[in-house]
Symmetry: C2
Subunit: 489 residues, 2 copies
């Protein structure tokens, strides 16, 4: 087994050695994704896509519970639409992909592949919304978007990615604000409860606010290399797009008003976040709730006469776990040794492995190995094979692993956020690769200076703030809030 482990490690650079190379190796070895023929594009392979499908189904159910309907807007947007909202065009025009030829002919107006859909949504909302009775209008779409990024990385930043984008219109600014907050909390719940990814929820600085929004809320996660990942955002758009597109309604008094809007999105980037939060030197490590395979069953025998009994037991175990909704895989290939299989499924991040050998069959037990605790410590022998007790044991163990991963990631994060009082302390924290949290009352120019000098940006002003106000770490002005600074993806 040791030998094979070594062989396998040739495939995946240890995380501790080179995080960036480890990430790309894991994506390749675990067959999560591959590079498309066009620079910066990505193929999401079945194992990676299954994680995305889980994210989709969880979010989709939540969106519906909170009153949103799915629909679909075309991805082709007239170029002129993008120009209607001033800060929107400024933010997105460098990243646009343009269709200029259709059906063999030059088009009169270039068409944009949606980088996001606020413009076309407003073009339609303006036609559909007449009166206050049509509000709130709460919709979502699952779609691909295109942004011509120069530096790409699978899942984290690609020319084309998959996401959902919610778009809503309301009668009052209070309702829009409530909606924007509600949806960032949906993302927060997903990250913490399902992806075991502790995140800081907060407000973006003005410089980092979505192009066209009044205010952007974000969830920020710390990856294994301590860089921050923006994992989901929710925007209060105010009336910016409504005014640009004339999205108006008649209120109860019969007067025309502009609607108040929000938009919010989570993307396939989340898959990258899960990989980089939990993975270790061995490879991928998936939280049970999002794992496409939660349990792998490996039957082990040496002599031919042992095979039948072991295989029968393995099938019963698989059946027992499947019947209670556990996603289980039987690896019964005879072309690979058990040791090779152990390493393979560890690299693929499957949370639990069940081993069944002839002696286990004789004793009516199985061996259970936890992916998150390496070696003997994570292995339990003599777990009852009987249906009821086994089901209960595995369910409990999956829950334990889920919680344990969240705790581990939370501890890691907490030990890597430093509270800073001065710009010197901030520089020190960032130079150490950590996050810096400190009072901030600086201008956009101050923020830009920090970025230039340290490479760190304001990730957010966290919703959870210390009780007292302080002195800004850079300007020495009175600061009503602390901000978190970090290098980010």
């Amino acid at each position: 087994m040791r030998k094979q482990k070594k062989e396998k490690n040739l495939g995946v650079t240890p995380r501790s050695q080179d995080f960036s190379k480890w990430y790309l190796d894991v994506i390749d070895a675990a067959e999560l994704a591959d590079y498309g023929p066009v620079r910066g594009t990505m193929i999401i392979r079945p194992y990676g896509y299954a994680i995305w499908e889980f994210i989709q189904s969880w979010l989709d159910a939540k969106f519906k519970e909170t009153g949103h309907s799915n629909m679909y807007f075309p991805q082709l947007i007239p170029y002129s639409f993008i120009e209607k909202e001033a800060s929107h065009v400024e933010g997105f025009s460098p990243e646009l992909a343009l269709v200029t030829v259709g059906g063999g002919k030059e088009l009169e107006e270039s068409l944009v592949l949606r980088p996001t859909s606020e413009t076309i949504v407003n073009h339609m909302f303006a036609q559909w919304i007449q009166s206050y009775r049509d509000l709130p209008l709460l919709v979502n779409q699952w779609a691909n978007v295109t942004r011509w990024e120069m530096r790409t990385r699978p899942f984290v930043r690609t020319l084309e990615f998959l996401w959902q984008e919610g778009h809503t219109a309301h009668c009052t600014p209070e309702e829009a604000e409530e909606e924007a907050m509600k949806m960032i909390h949906v993302y927060h719940s997903f990250a913490v409860e399902e992806a075991a990814m502790p995140v800081v929820v907060g407000r973006k600085s003005r410089a980092e606010t979505f192009a066209g929004a009044v205010c952007t809320y974000t969830i920020e996660a710390m990856m294994g290399d301590r860089r921050a990942l923006q994992a989901g955002t929710s925007h209060n758009l105010g009336q910016n797009f409504a005014r640009a597109f004339g999205t108006q309604y008649t209120d109860e008094k019969g007067e025309l008003q502009f609607v108040w809007q929000t938009s919010w999105g989570m993307s396939t980037r989340m898959v990258g976040g899960i990989i980089m939060t939990h993975g270790d030197d061995t490879g991928l490590l998936l939280p049970p709730r999002v794992a496409p395979i939660q349990v792998v069953v490996v039957p082990i025998w040496k002599k031919d006469e042992q095979k039948e009994g072991v295989m029968a037991a393995a099938s019963r175990v698989v059946g027992a776990l499947k019947s209670i909704g556990i996603r289980v895989k039987l690896d019964a290939t005879e072309q690979k040794t058990p040791g090779w299989k152990f390493n393979f499924w560890e690299m693929k991040g499957v949370p639990i492995r069940i081993e069944i050998g002839p002696r286990d069959v004789a004793e009516n037990v199985v061996v259970v190995a936890r992916r998150d605790i390496p070696g003997k410590e994570g292995k339990e022998f003599g777990v009852p094979m009987e249906e009821g007790p086994l089901q209960e044991y595995v369910m409990k163990k999956l829950e334990e692993i889920q919680q344990s991963l969240l705790e581990r990631a939370t501890t890691f994060r907490e030990s890597n956020i430093l509270d800073v009082k001065s710009y010197e302390e901030l520089k020190g924290a960032i130079a150490e690769g950590k996050w810096a949290r400190g009072p901030w009352a600086g201008t956009d120019a101050d923020e830009a200076q920090v970025k230039d000098e340290t490479g760190a940006t304001i990730r957010c002003f966290p919703f959870e703030q210390p009780p007292h106000s302080h002195v800004c770490l850079k300007t020495s002005k009175q600061a009503s809030e602390v901000a978190i600074f970090a290098k980010s993806y």
Copy 2:
């Protein structure tokens, strides 16, 4: 009520009067879709999208049951890929949309928005497939595709549409053929069992075969105006793409072989097919299994003191039906009269309406109206309101409506297919607006002539063939098969 019905009809042109206008009116009035700002593009609105979501979830489950995994390929394809398979480029190049500018710069090579993904799929399969152990490779993706069509119609033919495309690779031609057949039968099952849409399953003529395929199987449905709609296709690709892209595997003897492939797709066009199969003068008529709302409950009261009792009863009825998984809507708005609501939900095609008035409450009964049988005949009074009996009654009634719609559509279709023995008879049938079924052994040129002279094409050679061979209706040669000719969408 009569008056309001009349008002409502102002919105929807009767189907019997102008089918094409009726179709567009229904899509507008029922809020199924709207026109995008770019010519030929469509917004799928929540009510239409909910039908698509049902199609997705049904097919997705079937694809997984039959061993396919979902994944995602980029939509941007290098132009050179399209040119690699000779008949593919011939078929698709007139319909391509090209991205020529990205991130503000002219691209060196134009990129194609996928019109279908065989080329990029093979580019990747060639990298992933090494040995016979990697086969069969069975994948599917849910995606948008772009085809620069000149004549568009919502759902039926749009510049961009949503679909799934399955792509598989196999060791032998027999396996590929079996797969292509299996998947056309999945589409067949969906059409008949879920959409209550009788379809003819068959093989396309060479002229109508997918660009790059060896053989195309199709399901062909008859719309309410008797035009044919190709509602799903499955292609046996042979080794055409494998040879163009070098998609090879090492067989058990260690020799390099090209894979045998299939691809198959069903799209948002199916939503158009459902509308045009079942709709009537009143508007949309949805088969219960695909209806986003299966039952609408309309509480009716005149005096304020009646409201509480009626509303309480309506809520109980809604709860009882929801609890057994029926998709039910309570329409309790006070801004509209019951008569207006009846007409509105009839136009929206909801299969069952339940009316509850004060007298019903007193007698512990409800009134049930079937959408598919207009007027008093479709109305049943005194249906027990008690939970168990009501649940049973509604379940049974939904099933009855489902079956009844399938029978009605089947009868309509059968009475509109004429068996023809000569070209004159064929011309007569087509001139009458019907489908013609007759023995065919003509060439591509003969087929083209029929199209020129009658406007009809060979929809398919049905799998169900008459027992004896006949004389070709056009060439008088011996024909081993009958073909179906029709005008189509």
